[in-house]
């Protein structure tokens, strides 16, 4: 069974600074995806960034980038130039195929990020 571990329950950062959220996972799958989702107080789940396991190049989306270390099974999220609107819970998720043409997301327990003015 896949597991996802986020070792930082809470973090804080000053506005405009950079912060890195950690995530490790465990799997025997070779074909999978990794995701970071953001959940602001509105509780909407918003996809931040996605990484395909077969790609060595780290994904980037504007101020968000990942450091994907496949051998170490590590997938950290870096937020540059933090903004007040980045305040949210951040969930790391592992996506792997299951039978019947479906797939399953396994989530970490989340990191609560607070951006301070």
């Amino acid at each position: 069974a896949q597991t996802v571990t986020q070792s930082q329950p809470e973090m804080s950062v000053q506005e405009a600074e950079t912060v890195t959220l950690s995530c490790t996972y465990d799997t025997s799958e070779s074909n999978y995806y990794l995701f970071w989702y953001k959940q602001p107080p509105s509780r909407q789940m918003i996809l931040v960034i996605r990484q395909e396991a077969y790609k060595q190049q780290n994904a980037t989306e504007n101020r968000f980038s990942v450091n994907f270390q496949k051998a170490a099974k590590s997938f950290s999220l870096k937020i540059s130039d933090s903004q007040l609107g980045d305040t949210a819970m951040y969930f790391c998720a592992f996506g792997a195929p299951v039978k019947g043409g479906s797939e399953k997301l396994v989530f970490g327990k989340g990191t609560k990020l607070t951006v301070n003015p």
Binding site: Y33, R43, Q44, R50, P97, G101, S102, E103, K104, K109
Partner: protein
């Protein structure tokens, strides 16, 4: 034009009642899901349907029964509600393994409170 919608957004009910949560997606996706987020914010998959066929059923009590009348809808019916059922329930959809990237789009969630 909401991609994945759920109704209701809030649901307060008493123990022992039966309730349903509805979900609809207009993305043309083949696969839909129900997740439960507990009071500690932990998200766990409950069910998944692919083209109206049940694919994933994760050790969920029999009181929970998903129903998919067509591939754009996945409803969740809960019988004999218990206090421990209080949580936020999210519906999600994706293109499906053969066509997609496992990226799932989530609805706004339904906060269920059982008193």
């Amino acid at each position: 034009d909401t991609a994945v919608s759920q109704t209701p957004k809030y649901l307060v009910t008493q123990m022992g009642n039966d309730k349903s949560i509805k979900c609809e997606q207009n993305l043309g996706h083949d696969t839909m899901y129900w997740y439960k987020q507990d009071s500690k914010k932990f998200l766990k998959i409950m069910f998944s349907y692919n083209n109206k066929e049940l694919i994933i059923n994760e050790t969920v009590p029999n009181r929970f029964s998903p129903k998919s009348p067509d591939k754009a809808h996945l409803n969740l019916h809960i019988n004999s509600l218990e206090l421990g059922d209080s949580a936020v329930y999210f519906c999600a959809s994706s293109q499906g393994r053969d066509r997609g990237t496992y990226e799932q789009y989530f609805g706004p969630g339904t906060r269920l409170t059982v008193t």
